[in-house]
């Protein structure tokens, strides 16, 4: 009995190491003072972060990605929350169909969705210049995360509070603003954070929909890695690492990771 517990702990520790060591290595590589991506690092410095920030394409694509993710977050948070409110609360006959429709973009290979959108945007003459095509493509994939997160919070929601507000004469909008929203706020913000990181890290859709001068950070990093291999790339990667760590900590604070991570599959 004891022996089995020890064995499980050892196995699990090894798996965690497999998951986390590569990420730690990237961060260490970014802090490396040497000229190459060699291990062990030769001293600690921030020179590669400065080099990355001074590299025009990295800075431009970083700003572009932030802007894009901001717009995607705004739209998908509003639409996803509305959809969750309707589907969890008010839909009857079509509940399953609507749910499946909202999460469908997650079930289809994203690279095929990107291809379909690319052909569609050219066939309709809209084109993929600027941010428009990327904005729509990213929103398709961010929306389900908001929907799932807000749904998870709504399922444990006590409806009698709203009924109390309404019986005291509050209209539907006042009820939402004063009662419903404050109660689901954590879920909405968590959904927004997931939407943001989904857009910020998005690769397959972006690969097909980026245009000249409008490149996102992951695509820029990918292009860079195909021709050069230096610690500047590690510095850029560290930004993504820090962002995801921050979001995990925030969501855990807001609603608890357990609430959102396990309901997502259901």
């Amino acid at each position: 009995m004891r022996r089995r517990g020890v064995l499980l702990s050892v196995v699990v520790t090894l798996i965690y190491l497999f998951l986390l060591v590569p990420i730690v290595i990237v961060v260490l590589a970014a802090l490396n003072a040497g000229n190459y991506l060699a291990f062990p690092p030769q001293g600690i410095s921030l020179r590669w972060f400065i080099k990355a920030a001074e590299t025009g394409p990295f800075l431009r694509s970083f700003v572009f990605s932030l802007k894009l993710a901001g717009w995607v977050t705004a739209l998908s948070t509003v639409l996803g929350t509305m959809a969750a409110l309707y589907i969890v609360r008010h839909s009857r006959r079509f509940r399953t169909v609507l749910r499946l429709a909202i999460v469908a973009p997650l079930q289809f290979p994203a690279i095929l969705t990107g291809i379909a959108l690319l052909i569609f945007f050219f066939a309709t003459g809209l084109g993929t210049r600027g941010m428009r095509a990327l904005f729509i493509g990213h929103t398709l994939l961010a929306l389900p995360y908001v929907f799932l997160t807000v749904s998870a919070v709504l399922v444990g929601f006590d409806r009698s509070l709203e009924e109390a507000a309404q019986s005291l004469g509050a209209g539907p909008l006042t009820t939402f603003r004063r009662v419903t929203f404050p109660l689901i706020k954590g879920g909405v913000i968590s959904g927004a954070l997931f939407a943001f990181i989904t857009s910020f890290d998005q690769f397959p859709i972006s690969l097909l929909l980026v245009s000249v001068g409008n490149t996102t950070l992951p695509i820029q990093l990918f292009d860079y890695l195909r021709f050069s291999f230096d610690p500047a790339a590690a510095a850029v990667s560290t930004v993504s690492v820090l962002m995801s760590v921050a979001i995990v900590l925030l969501v855990d604070r807001l609603v608890g990771l357990q609430a959102v991570s396990w309901s997502g599959q259901g």
């Binding site: 991506l37 290979p109 690279i111 291809i115 929306l143 690769f203 995990v248 599959q265």
Partner: protein
């Protein structure tokens, strides 16, 4: 009590009348999905039947030529085969590594559980490019793995550019998906059931295989589905770690579309790829359904 009931009559009748505009909440999402998801996919189906002239993108003329080209080229089948076995192996390996992780996580509690959950979810939110890059550093010529190998055997391993490197990357990327799906199912198992089995003097081993494993199958199914679909369509990891030597279907399709600029053939290849993925998923669901049926009986 009767007075209160009278003062607050049953909600639905009144609420339904007042809330009848509520269906408009779902309209914007559905509009977005129809216009920018359903229609583009249907358009891709149409594109796969159109003629590709030598000097332009496509002509609105029906043809089966693209499918003939997509299906009759044995090269495409080799790529398809490689893509599917790699995704299948990824699914099996993530199950083997993800299950202990999920089991351990579900058994933990309090702060410890929160931290463990963070350790699993944080990598999930990192860009795939970053995770591919991490393995590029680790498996490279002067990377940590090669240094250890050199120290042990005195030889240098060539890892980048091989299917092995791609498999390592894929398994690394997809373990969290599998672990979380299984943990979801495991956390639904009532401790009473396990208590009951143990009190009937079933060994831990027997309790696991006869009670816990069958009850966790829905999680295994959900995780398997998720990982397979994501792995079969992954693009970044095979390119970065396979160094373009390990050609998989998404790479071939993107090349056909962007480099060869052949939309009709690219669409036909996408449809074939999509159809085979759906068929594999259907077979997998049937198998899982049968496995879950057996244990229920």
């Amino acid at each position: 009590m009767a007075g209160i009931d009278a003062a607050f009559p049953a909600r639905p009748a009144a609420a339904r009348g007042r809330f009848s505009w509520l269906w408009t909440l779902i309209v914007p999402s559905m509009l977005l999905l129809v216009v920018f998801f359903l229609v583009p996919y249907l358009n891709m189906v149409r594109m796969s039947f159109l003629l590709k002239p030598a000097d332009g993108p496509y002509l609105p003329q029906f043809t089966l030529n693209n499918y003939a080209k997509a299906v009759l080229d044995p090269f495409h089948w080799r790529v398809l085969f490689r893509t599917f076995w790699m995704a299948g192996l990824t699914t099996v390996l993530t199950l083997i590594f993800g299950y202990p992780l999920a089991y351990h996580l579900t058994a933990a509690s309090g702060r410890r559980k929160r931290w463990l959950l963070m350790l699993i979810i944080a990598p999930l939110l990192m860009s795939v490019v970053v995770r591919g890059f991490a393995w590029l550093i680790l498996l490279g010529r002067v990377g940590l793995v090669n240094q250890v190998a050199h120290w042990l055997t005195g030889r240098e391993l060539v890892l980048i550019g091989t299917p092995t490197a791609v498999m390592i990357g894929l398994v690394h990327v997809f373990i969290p998906f599998m672990a979380l799906s299984i943990a979801g199912a495991l956390s639904n198992i009532s401790p009473d059931v396990i208590q009951a089995a143990r009190s009937l003097s079933a060994s831990p081993w027997r309790t696991f295989w006869r009670i816990v494993w069958p009850l966790s199958l829905p999680g295994v199914q959900a995780g398997g589905l998720l990982v397979f679909i994501l792995a079969v369509s992954s693009y970044v990891i095979p390119i970065l770690l396979g160094n373009s030597n390990v050609l998989v279907m998404p790479m071939l399709i993107v090349q056909t579309l962007l480099d060869a600029f052949n939309w009709p053939l690219g669409s036909a290849l996408s449809m074939v790829f999509f159809g085979l993925t759906a068929a594999t998923v259907a077979v997998f669901l049937r198998m899982m359904g049968r496995a879950m049926g057996w244990t229920r009986a």
